[in-house]
Amino acid sequence: MVEIIQTDRAAPPASWPMYRALVGIGMLCGLLIVSVYVLTGPVIARNEARALEAAVFRVLPGATSSHTFALTEDGRFRSAEEGTPTDSEAEAGTPTYSGMEAGTNTGTPIDSGDPELEKQAGTPTDRVVHAGYDDNGSLVGVAIQAQGMGYQDVIRVLYGYDPARDAIIGMQVLASKETPGLGDKIEKDPAFLANFDALDVSLAPDGQSLQHPIEAVKGGEKSQPWQIDGITGATISSKAIAGTLRQSSAQWVPLIHRQRAIFTDREVSNDGQ
């Protein structure tokens, strides 16, 4: 593979053609990349928004419309529809970002009796949740994003919590890099996903923590409504999902349950904006 181009030009060319070729082609390529980026950017953003909305509807079966709420610093939820950034959104990225905590901790299972976690559960976190409503406008549930460390990389999930039933009613993996054929079953294995049709997250009598933290058990050994049947061959990924949900639900479920009126009376909170 030598002497491929123009073997007739044996004399070493001046440097000008080389500059011309590199700079010219560089400009052409730059122009091409930037134009494609500009053209596809809005489409990609729309795809991402649509994917999130579709995921919200999937984890909240029966929901036909959604409304975004943000958690403010005082630990209360406020309506946060597009174009109205709230104080809490401006604070995104502070160390209390709950996803980061989940990301660093889920490798080691943490009992929700852990005092540190209970403290976190009471701490307001600056995140948004998406409430879903059915055709009659009544609340189906609240979709919450969470993330935790999986086998390969961080797994991001979205799960639906129904305050009326005290249960998680759906879960979808938004992004994961788990082993194809093994770990990635957490995304599509119907038996595994059935765990999240009605996963018990009822609160302890004090209303501050979960009565039974979510836990993963070996495949087929689920005996309690708060247990998740793991996938054989994807034990670490199943446990990672359980750990992520355990951490996230310990934080969010008491908060949302306490303020469930804000979500059910959407019109009121809208007028208040």
């Binding site: 593979m1 002497e3 491929i4 181009i5 123009q6 030009r9 070493p12 060319p13 053609p17 080389m18 011309r20 070729a21 590199l22 010219g24 082609i25 560089g26 390529c29 091409l32 990349i33 494609v36 980026y37 596809t40 489409v43 990609i44 795809n47 991402e48 994917a51 992004a175 890099k177 082993t179 194809p180 054929g181 093994l182 061959g233």
Partner: protein, 217 residues
């Protein structure tokens, strides 16, 4: 591997056909093994990767062939890589715009099309010294041949490793998938078997041709 004496020829379907079988990039040239082994764990991934690679190879062959008199040979590798990287970035955005799911499934391997030696190989060995029409046909043939080979691997691996093909079940419920086929090692096993089959077919064909030539002098 290339035949410079052909450069005077006009575009023929042979430029296209040779990539499919006689010079198949995977089974004969054994080029671009990284995506072949990594992304052939399911038929749909194989198809998407094959189409993305075909897109990049056709466009890079087009541009390299168009600019072949403009590029001094001292800087040809740098410009070829620049051109290939550009089209890979373009295809990356296009796939994101078409389907986020496919983009997620292919993961890091879209960006790695840049270093697929098949594409640089075609730019260097063919497009940089052949006309536009033949270069496009060559890229198309190589791309389709690459897609075909990826599908051969992806199909076998998905059927044995997951019991499905393009997501549809092909075995009755009792089938226990051979998970190893989906794992990286399964890629090597499957590739070895396909190479075995192809080499056997080719040697048999060559034998038949010699006997024919001897029989009819």
């Amino acid at each position: 591997m290339t035949d410079s004496d052909l450069s005077a020829r006009t575009p023929t379907t042979d430029e296209f056909i040779k990539g499919l079988w006689r010079e198949n990039p995977v089974f004969v040239q054994v080029l671009g093994m990284c995506p072949v082994l990594a992304v052939s764990n399911s038929a749909i991934n194989a198809l998407a990767m094959g189409l993305a690679t075909t897109f990049v190879i056709v466009l890079s062959n087009t541009l390299v062939s168009t600019l072949r008199h403009f590029i001094p040979k001292q800087v040809r590798i740098a410009t070829f890589i620049l051109i290939i990287a550009t089209f890979v970035t373009v295809v990356d955005y296009l796939i994101q715009a078409i389907s986020l799911d496919i983009h997620r499934a292919l993961g890091a391997f879209i960006s790695l099309i840049v270093v697929n030696c098949l594409i640089l190989g075609r730019a260097e060995a063919f497009a940089s010294r052949n006309g536009l029409g033949r270069s496009i046909l060559d890229g198309l043939g190589m791309g389709v041949g690459f897609t075909f080979a990826l599908l051969c691997l992806g199909g076998v691996r998905e059927i044995l490793g997951n019991g499905t093909l393009f997501g549809a079940a092909v075995f009755p419920d009792g089938f226990q998938p051979w998970i190893v086929m989906i794992l990286p090692s399964g890629g090597f096993f499957t590739l070895a078997l396909w190479l075995l089959l192809f080499n056997w077919l080719r040697s048999r064909q060559a034998e038949r041709q010699t006997t024919l030539a001897e029989a009819a002098p």
